[in-house]
C-alpha cells in the first residue's frame, strides 16, 4: 500500500529560480484555457473533488462518519518529555468534533476528494503551540493539494516559521486555506498573503462566498448556523470562522479537481472571479 510519505515523494520540487536566463520560453507556456468570463461552471462545474487530496489540520476526523465517509489516513502530533514534536500515524478519531465538522463541510462540497487528518489539538495541546506548527509543516511537506486550517496562533514567536511554511505551500502548489480568528485580535497564519484567509458571512447561503475588498481576510463564506457532522455520527449546528473556512477549502478541491494544474495563485484568482460580489458586478 502506498503511504502518504511515498506519495509525497512523487511530487519533486522544481529547482529554485531567480531569473529566466537560459530558460526555454516556449517551455514556460502555461495553461491558457481560461474562459472569457469565468463562471462557477467554468471553475468547478461537474467537478466532484476526485483526485484531490485534502488535509484537515485540527482535532482529528472521525472515520466513517455519515457526513465524512472514509478518512484516507490519520496522523497526530505527539510531544516527548522534552517538548519535541513528531508526527505519527494514529487511529482515525476526533478528540472534540471540531475536525470532523470541518471535514464534513469539505465532503459536502467535494464528495469524491480524499480526506486526510493531522491532529494538532485536543490531547492537552494548545492551538497556539508547537503542535500546530509541527502538524502544518508535516502537511505541507506531504504536498497535499488543499490544507484546511481552522485554527491560528496568537504567538508572534511563530510568525517567521509560519510565514516560511506558508510560502513553501504557496510555491509548492499546496493551497492553504486558513481561518481568521473569531476575536478581533492578531493571529497567524491567516494574516499572510500566501494563504487563502476566510471569515464568516451570515447570509445563511452555503453556496455563496464573497471576496473582501478590505483584506487581510480575503474571503467570507457560510459560517453561521452551519449544519456539520459531529462526534459519534452526530450532527449539530455551529457558528464561527472555523466552519466558513472548509467551505472555501471545498471549493478549492472542486477547482483543483477540474483544473489539476493550477497553482495556489491561480486557485485564489478563480475564487476571486467567482465570488458572489465580483460576479454581481459583471
Amino acid at each position: 500500500m502506498t503511504s502518504d510519505f511515498d506519495r509525497a515523494s512523487q511530487f519533486a520540487r522544481p529547482p529554485l529560480t531567480w531569473n529566466s536566463v537560459g530558460r526555454d520560453y516556449t517551455a514556460m507556456t502555461l495553461a491558457t484555457r481560461w474562459p472569457a468570463a469565468v463562471s462557477p461552471d467554468a471553475a468547478w462545474g461537474s467537478a466532484t473533488g476526485a483526485g484531490v487530496r485534502v488535509c484537515i489540520v485540527d482535532s482529528g476526523v472521525e472515520d466513517g462518519h455519515p457526513r465524512v465517509g472514509p478518512v484516507q489516513a490519520s496522523y497526530a502530533v505527539e510531544q516527548d518529555d522534552d517538548g519535541n514534536c513528531a508526527v505519527v500515524k494514529v487511529p482515525a478519531e476526533d478528540m472534540s468534533g471540531h475536525g470532523t465538522a470541518c471535514a464534513s463541510i469539505v465532503r459536502s462540497l467535494a464528495p469524491d476528494c480524499e480526506i486526510h487528518s493531522v491532529r494538532v489539538l485536543g490531547h492537552g495541546f494548545s492551538g497556539s503551540g508547537e503542535a500546530l506548527l509541527a502538524g502544518l509543516k508535516w502537511a505541507i511537506e506531504q504536498r497535499f493539494d488543499v490544507v484546511n486550517l481552522s485554527l491560528s496562533t496568537t504567538r508572534h514567536k511563530f510568525v517567521d516559521n509560519l510565514r516560511a511554511l506558508t510560502d513553501d505551500a504557496y510555491f509548492g502548489k499546496t493551497v492553504l486555506v486558513a481561518s481568521a480568528h473569531n476575536l478581533p485580535i492578531e493571529s497567524f497564519p491567516w494574516r499572510f498573503s500566501s494563504v487563502i484567509s476566510v471569515g464568516s458571512h451570515d447570509t445563511g447561503d452555503p453556496g455563496q462566498f464573497f471576496y473582501n475588498p478590505s483584506p487581510p481576510v480575503e474571503f467570507f463564506a457560510h459560517g453561521t448556523d452551519v449544519e456539520v457532522g459531529w462526534l459519534a455520527g452526530g450532527i449539530r449546528r455551529c457558528t464561527g470562522n472555523s466552519f466558513a473556512t472548509p467551505h472555501i477549502a471545498g471549493y478549492c478541491a472542486l477547482i483543483l479537481s477540474k483544473h489539476p494544474d493550477l497553482t495556489a495563485f491561480q486557485v485564489k484568482n478563480l475564487l476571486y472571479l467567482t465570488a458572489a460580489n465580483v460576479r454581481g458586478a459583471q
Binding site: 492537552g124 494548545s126 492551538g127 497556539s128 496568537t154 476575536l183 449539530r236
Partner: protein
Amino acid sequence: MTDAPSPLSALSFAVLDAEEEHRTLLHSVVLVARAIFESAASSIFLLDTLTSELVFEAVAGNGEDFLVGSRFPASKGIAGWVLDSGQPLIIENVAEDPRFARDVAESTKYVPTMLMATPVICDEEAIGVLEVLDPGPSQRSALTQLELLSLFGLQAAAALRLVQRSRAARSRLIMADGEFAELVEVVRMLEGLDGERRQAGLRLFGSMRTLLTS
C-alpha cells in the same frame, strides 16, 4: 482637608487593599454580560498555571454566592477546550457535546442547556475563559452574538491582567520573609490612627529614619 497618602501607604492601598476593587471590576464585567445576553449566569475563569486549573474569579447569576474561588482541571469541559483552541464558541445543546464535563457543571449546581464561551487573551496567551450560560432569545445572528461576546472577552482580559499583576506584587511583598508585609501593616495601622497616637507614630518613624541613616 485630607493628607496626601505617603508612597508606602499608597503602595499598601494599591497592592494589599486592591483585591476587593478588582473583584468588583471583574464582577461588573459578568454582570453586564449577563444583562446584555439576558442569561442565567456569566462567569470568568482564570488559569492557574501552577496547578493547571481554571478558577472561578467572578460569577453573576446562578452560583454567584458560592462559586468564586472554586476550581477544576483546565483540561476538562468546554472551558478547557476554549482555553486550548483559543476560539470562542456557541453551543446550543450542551448535554450533547462530548467536551461537556457534566461532573464539573453539576458541582456548580447549575447545568445549562446553551453555553457561549470566549477565551480571555492577554499578551498573546489565553489566560482565562469568559462564559455565558443560557442566554435569552435574541434578534442577533449567532455571528453577531459571538462578536459581542468577544468584546466582553477583551474587557475581562484587561480586568484579569490587573488582578494578576496585583496578586503577583502582593505575593512578592508577603513572601519576602514577611519583612515588607510587617512594614506595610504598620503603615496601614498608622494611617488608621489620629491625634496624638498618629503623631507619636510619625515621630517614631522619624527617629527610625535618623537611626538608619546615621
